[in-house]
Structures are given as structure tokens and as C-alpha cells.
Subunit: 333 residues, 2 copies
């Protein structure tokens, strides 16, 4: 996007170090998103998959496998699996959130319809399960099946918890682990497992992905309240308008006086929002230092991600993963 060119380097460097494997992953994705009978499937999938996502999650699998000394070929299947799970959840999320834009383009539910998004998402889930069976490794199967369940559970939890002012930071963390960190940690863990890495390394890879995913989501939630020092092209206030209780607001609610609490109850719980409410919310977040505190949490998770890497072999890819953790939080530094 221009302004962040400099700090985007870790992802670009990872992409370069993993270029040939990523090419294999992309080829496998294109091959498996086809459908002999239903042309609607590759249409919808291509719209999303080829919209220029960063392929962060499959890259994590490849990086983990490389760090653990794996030579292939099954990290490619696992990486494609992870991207398919991610794409399926995006399709369903956009239906659930009634989103109209994703990656700067109209969403599939808008271009086609909700039905297509639900069913093509199901197809990609099924394809992901076919892919994950192919390496014939029961432990990676278990990890990815568990991650899928955690993701769906987190999404359902968010449905009920997001508009409830009683939601505290521990529930928030469960939701975040579900909607984001579960797939990050599964992505890195299966890379280690398929490589036959020692248990301590597998655990470290899991911890890295888990902490990176949590940092990533907190940053995303901060950016939604304009928590960036630079423009990043994201609309401020989407979560507010959708009445999603995220970390900055949870912190502000915890410090709220009765009048402030009544404000949050009206705009989030009752969904009764008027002109000026977003500005009032931003003032409250500022008054209680909630943005600053959430930012500190994100930094802390990024540090935990980096610490986990100590267990892994010294390798250029390890440095890139460490820089990636810094990069993720640099968006709100």
C-alpha cells in the first residue's frame, strides 16, 4: 500500500525464502478449488482466493516445516489445507456479518448470494479435509480437525458474547483464540509435526502461532478504532456499528462510571446508535487509556511469540518469524 512498504519486509522476505513451496501451494489450491460439476464453485473461490490475500497462514506452515528441517512434500498439502479452512471461514463470516467488502472488493455474498457463500464455504471445508487426509498423518489430522472445531466454537461464542457488556477479557481471549489464533497455531504446529520435530519444538511452534494470532487480532481490533499512527485504508468504527465488543471497549467498560456504562449499554447492548456516538466512544477509549492498554497487550503477545522461537534452531527463517511478530504490532506502534 505504499506507506508501510518498509515494515512489510518480513512477509516479503518470508515469501521470497519460501517461493518455490508457495508456488506448489498455489498450484494445489487452484487444482483443488475446481469442481467437475458445479462451475459456481471455482468462480466464487477464485474471486476470494485470487483477490490478493497475503497467504500468511500457509506461509506459517511452510516456515515451520522448513525451520524443523522438513523437505516435503506434505507441508504443501497442509499449507493448502490451512488456506482452504481460512477461505471457507471468510465466506461464512461475510454471510454472518452481512459484509459488503473484503480485501477491497465486493464480497461473494453480495456478488452472488448468501446461498452460494454458505455452500461454497462448505465445499472448501470438505476439500480441506480431503487435503489434510492425504499426508496420512493422524496427528496433523487431529490438530487441524480440532482447530476447525475451535474456530467454529469461537464464532458462535462471539455471536452471543459480542453484544454482552458482561464479556470480560478472558471471554475475549477465547473468542480471539477461536476466530484467529487457533488457525495460526495449527498452521505452525502441523509444520513441526509433519517434519517430525522434537516435542519441545512442536510446542514452541504452537506457542508462536498462538501468540502471533492473538497479537494479530488485538491489532485488528485496535485498527477498527483508528489505532494506527498511519492511514491503513481501514474504515474506523465497523466493529462499533456492528456492536462487537472488542478489547479496547472491554477495557473502557471495566473503568466506566455509571453514565459511561449507560452509554455502552445503549450503543452496544441495545444497538441504539446516533450521530456522534462513535466520537463519544473514541473519547471514552482515550479518557481511560483503553487504546494504550490494548496496544500494550498486543506488544506483550508479540514478545511472547518471539520468546517461543528461542526453542527453535538458529535459521534465517526463524529471524523472519521474529520480525514478523514485530511487524504485526508495528501497525499500531
Amino acid at each position: 500500500m505504499g506507506v508501510n512498504e518498509n515494515v512489510q519486509k518480513p512477509l516479503d522476505r518470508l515469501a521470497e525464502a519460501l517461493a518455490s513451496e508457495m508456488e506448489a501451494v498455489n498450484a494445489l489450491i487452484r487444482q483443488r478449488m475446481a469442481s467437475r460439476h458445479a462451475p459456481r464453485i471455482p468462480e466464487v473461490t477464485a474471486h476470494l482466493i485470487e483477490a490478493g490475500g497475503k497467504r500468511l497462514r500457509p506461509m506459517l506452515t511452510l516456515a515451520a516445516a522448513k525451520l524443523a528441517g522438513y523437505d516435503g512434500p506434505y507441508h504443501v498439502h497442509l499449507a493448502a489445507t490451512v488456506e482452504f479452512i481460512h477461505t471457507a471461514t471468510l465466506l461464512h463470516d461475510d454471510v454472518v456479518d452481512e459484509s459488503r467488502q473484503r480485501r477491497g472488493r465486493p464480497t461473494a455474498n453480495l456478488l452472488w448470494d448468501n446461498k452460494s457463500s454458505v455452500l461454497v464455504g462448505d465445499y472448501l471445508f470438505a476439500r480441506s479435509f480431503q487435503l489434510m487426509v492425504e499426508p496420512g498423518n493422524l496427528r496433523t489430522l487431529e490438530i487441524l480437525a480440532n482447530a476447525s472445531a475451535t474456530i467454529a466454537e469461537g464464532e458462535v461464542l462471539q455471536l452471543t458474547a459480542a453484544q454482552d457488556l458482561g464479556t470480560d477479557e478472558s471471554v475475549y481471549l477465547q473468542v480471539v483464540r477461536g476466530k484467529t489464533a487457533a488457525l495460526f497455531s495449527a498452521a505452525t504446529e502441523v509444520g513441526g509435526v509433519i517434519a517430525g520435530a522434537p516435542e519441545a519444538q512442536v510446542r514452541a511452534l504452537f506457542d508462536y502461532g498462538d501468540a502471533l494470532g492473538i497479537a494479530f487480532q488485538i491489532v485488528d481490533d485496535l485498527l477498527d478504532y483508528g489505532g494506527a499512527t498511519e492511514t491503513i485504508g481501514k474504515n474506523v468504527g465497523d466493529d462499533f456499528r456492528e456492536r462487537k465488543l472488542t478489547l479496547p471497549v472491554i477495557k473502557a467498560v471495566a473503568s466506566a462510571d455509571p453514565a459511561e456504562r449507560a452509554f455502552w449499554a445503549r450503543v452496544i447492548e441495545a444497538g441504539d446508535q446516533h450521530d456522534g456516538d462513535l466520537e463519544q466512544a473514541l473519547r471514552l477509549l482515550d479518557r481511560h487509556g483503553s487504546m494504550r492498554a490494548a496496544r500494550a497487550d498486543a506488544m506483550d503477545w508479540a514478545e511472547r511469540a518471539k520468546s517461543a522461537l528461542a526453542e527453535l534452531p538458529d535459521h534465517p527463517v526463524r529471524d523472519m518469524l521474529s520480525d514478523l511478530a514485530d511487524f504485526v504490532v508495528s501497525r499500531v506502534a
Copy 2:
């Protein structure tokens, strides 16, 4: 119900012969539909799972395993897997079809919302994958993952094919294999595989499930145009109003004169329906013998299902499966 008491016997006899295993399946289903974090999940699932479905599909898995001489314990996991996949697709189907009733009760999308149905469906899919991993058998994993992909593909195909008068019987068969027969045949096949049955028996079990599923769906489509000799409490004309091109109509379109073709184009393709159109459709189905011909196809598939059983050991359960094929089509006899 009542009126069909006599012909319902095959299912009841199967349920009796498999009572202790079915009890284990039901216990496993209840255990796995729980969620530590999101109470919405068991609420939605229980609404559907405990609404008194016949559990036909898991019973097929148990019956196949028993026929092939298996003593357990993993047929129970596979049977529960099959029921979870089925329940997940029902939740998503009801969203896609905007259904308001299922098994005589309001649908989950009506009682809660579409979001809950989509996400709880995803959760059940993920739970089904966790369950199918547990037996540690790669071949049953492959069969069930493939079935899931075929189901989703069939549903997407139906989206585009159902309102297109160019849809012929071969496309209809693909849709039916996807939406119904793929899970029937996977249910019976995995029962044979987990039992270590000889290949010819596994193939026969697949063929039985496939043919039974096709017969079952054709009958369902016939009943939608009132193809029953007795009242079965199903609304006539739902598929017509939803503009779903099913076998009786496909046959009538194939024999249509230009005026009749214009009628079908208006009501199905354009969706421009008025009072009296359903009655006109029924007259056309009658004029061309389309109901009778579709009924003959259903009978033929039931016969194929029964023939496939010849490959399997002589056993009371085999007779029950044979009677089940007769029973399925007896609803339109």
C-alpha cells in the same frame, strides 16, 4: 403417522436389532454436541437432533458393520460422524432454502437466526471430522471426506441447475447423488471398511447405499407432487414453489409441446407463478405419465439396492436392509 405403521416395520426392526449400538451412538452424539464455551451450540443442535429424526444414516453404518461381522468399537464413531454431517447439512440447507419447518417444528434459522445455523453447522462439520479421525483408519477418513465434498458440490450444483429447464436426468442424478446418496453410500461403505470386509462386500455395501439413497430422494421428490397413495403429512408443491426442477418435472419437460414448455419456463425459470399453476403442473405431470415414470425409476433403484445385497452374508440384518429398500419406495407404491 399411524397409517403407515405396518410398512414402517423394517426401520423398527433394524432399530431393535441395533439397539445397544444405537444407544452408544446417541450417547456419543450428546457428548460431542456439547460446547464448553458456547451454550448456543448444544441448544441449536439439540433442537434438531432431538426432534425425533429416524437416525436412518447412522443405522446404515451400524447395520453394514454388523453384516460384515464387526464387533466394534469404532462403528459407533463412524455412525455418529455420519449423523453429524447430516445434521450440519440440514442446518445449512434450511438457511439456503429459507425453510420455516423441519420435522414438524420451526427451523433453527427461524427460532434463532441464520448466523447461528451457519456457524453451528460449521461446528458440527468440524466435530464430525474430529470423530472420524478417532478410529485412526485412513480409508474411512477418505471416504467420509470425499462424501462431504460430494454433498457440498451437489448442493451448489442444485443452486444453478434447479431452475434451468436444460437440466436433464443425468444432472438430476448428480444432484441427487450429492444431496442424498453420497452420505447413504459413505455410511454403508465405512461400515464395511471398518469391519475389514472383503473388497467385493465393501463395493456391494457402497452400491446398496448409493441405490437406496437415489430411490429415497426420487420418492421424496415424488411426494412433493403428492405422489403418495396415502396422506403423509407433507405439503404438496414446496419444490414447485421453490422452483426446484425434480425428476417428475424433468420428465414432463422432456415431453412438453411448445405451449407446455412455455408454461414450465414461466413458472420454473422465470418464477412467475399464479393461482392454478400448481394444478396445471399436476395435470401436465399426469398427461405425460411423468409421475408414473419417476415412480418406476424409484422402484428400479430399490431393486438395484436389493440386488447388491446378494454379495453379503446371509443374516437377519441383510433381510432388514432388503425390506428397507422396499419400504422406502412403498411410500409411493
